[in-house]
Symmetry: C2
Amino acid sequence: MDSRIAKAQQYAREAGIDALLITPGADLRYLTGYEAKPLERLTCLVLPSEGEAVMVVPELERASALHYGVSSEIRSWTETEDPFDLVTSLLPADAQTLALDDQMWASRVLTLRDRLPDVRLALAGDVLRELRIIKSAEEIDFLRVAGATIDRVHDRMHEWLKPGRSELDVGADIARAILDEGHTSVDFVIVGSGPNGASPHHDVSDRIIEAGKPVVIDIGGTTRDGYCSDSTRNYIVGDQVPEAYERAYEALLAAQKAQCVFAGPGVSAEAVDRVGRQILDEHGYADLFIHRTGHGIGQETHEHPYIVEGNTQVLREGMAFSIEPGVYFEGQFGARIEDIVVCTEDGIERLNHTSRALRHL
Amino acid sequence: MDSRIAKAQQYAREAGIDALLITPGADLRYLTGYEAKPLERLTCLVLPSEGEAVMVVPELERASALHYGVSSEIRSWTETEDPFDLVTSLLPADAQTLALDDQMWASRVLTLRDRLPDVRLALAGDVLRELRIIKSAEEIDFLRVAGATIDRVHDRMHEWLKPGRSELDVGADIARAILDEGHTSVDFVIVGSGPNGASPHHDVSDRIIEAGKPVVIDIGGTTRDGYCSDSTRNYIVGDQVPEAYERAYEALLAAQKAQCVFAGPGVSAEAVDRVGRQILDEHGYADLFIHRTGHGIGQETHEHPYIVEGNTQVLREGMAFSIEPGVYFEGQFGARIEDIVVCTEDGIERLNHTSRALRHL
């Protein structure tokens, strides 16, 4: 953690930032290991670009911060004190530019704006992104474990996905299995049967699973180490597959495979997106691929790099992200194939290994 | 929902606010029913103080917004468009003051600041608080269901809380039971055994449950209707209770009971806090009650009103909040008794009904 802090300080100095203010969330976890709850009482790491960091916490979170191994000085405020007095007292005396956690709440941002009218407020994400986007060997191991954990849930899908059951009931079983298999939280459960599969971010509904209607299952959780899983597979009850679906599925499989072969160090994020789009286009499905190819993943399910047209960022060894093209037939069905991959020295390593074929139950 | 929108507009006009910008979270759910995911793609309700609301969503969330019954016009942006162009185009032409969702991310706040340099940015919470703080009869029913649901989990504690097991393992069982009993998400699980009970916001650790060591269990989830539960009870394995703990527990029980008797319409939030503190003080435990008495609850576990010294807000019928005094003996153990209550015409109704006595397992 201390080397991360030192690097963040170095990047802050290079960006002309005098201090970073980091509130609970993935940035705080990344920098300090502290998994603080994002609640109404202010917790904030005050990290000057030179000198020592101070963790500001509510008094009743002090033990928790220590429990998580926070190594910097901890300063606490009691229930009737004003935490912003404490935070502003800890800033470098001549601070001109502060960088705020990207997900800091507006209520805090506007309080800081009012308290520090002469200070320029910028975003910490611009500094921390470079740090978080390259995963260490240890982080990649954590992502491998997360991938294997969600794979075990997909492997058990036959236990729950049965005709006559509702998406809600299937989803509840999946949620339990996500915990049973070793995640400590359920981040999302999408069970998109029939026409619901055509909505990429559908979650669950009271719709009943029917034979012959494809089902998109996109699930993820967080492991004890704090790293996220995310994998999508496609299922159908019985042997009858709609012909239009079957053809599209073949194209989708080819697209996802081509993207995985193509992705690697030196390739731009948008180029990976284009490869998938191109293959779907050749089969006449370009218009049905209505979202980007993927998103980075780590301590957040969605983080940089985003695999999307317009993102010219070049992939480098250690970047982890999803490759998840999809095709969506409004009012009928949808399909999406998603693996988490990590960029290696000369290509990518897939972290999900269950069969990508349409699975018959 | 439409009457909530109308009231929010009325309050906004009274506060001199031209439009509210509401991002995913409890405010958005409250106003529109839309349980949007708080992700990197911008979803934002643009609610002018006069005229029609517009829900701005990523194109791939359009179906989801419709699924949640969003009744306002929906405008979507595709993966390569800039959502802030769309949001700013929807603002009243002469807007001078915008109120931002209290939990809007800094990345959005600073983008709006840069795009709208002449517009004053305020907080929507100041407008929405008055609305959300009084629960309707339907909302109180939802909170009753949430309370009964978490009560069933406490009633099953003997199944999991056994000597030799770790807090982590007990916590994992509790998390599953929170779902099994009818919540759709696990919001938090605190299993504080022995000295860990002295940290009010401890969650779980690898500490082993031992006979004769008190355990604080504070748990909560969200129900299908979107309302939260939160209840704390205290357990001990075996009949041996540390004497200092037993005496403190008696005082704590008396304090919590007195607060529940005292709370009601016309009483200030801070007065409820003081009553508990006074009773603990009489027994010599005032210094050990290191946090406020409670927090409001509804679609968020923690919301207004906060039951804390300095909050002179007068309680009114329909306010729902926790009453949860605690005593914490650093390095030894802690105890906290927490019920959710709702302010009635002439007092409070408790929404948790399991025994508040120290429970022997």
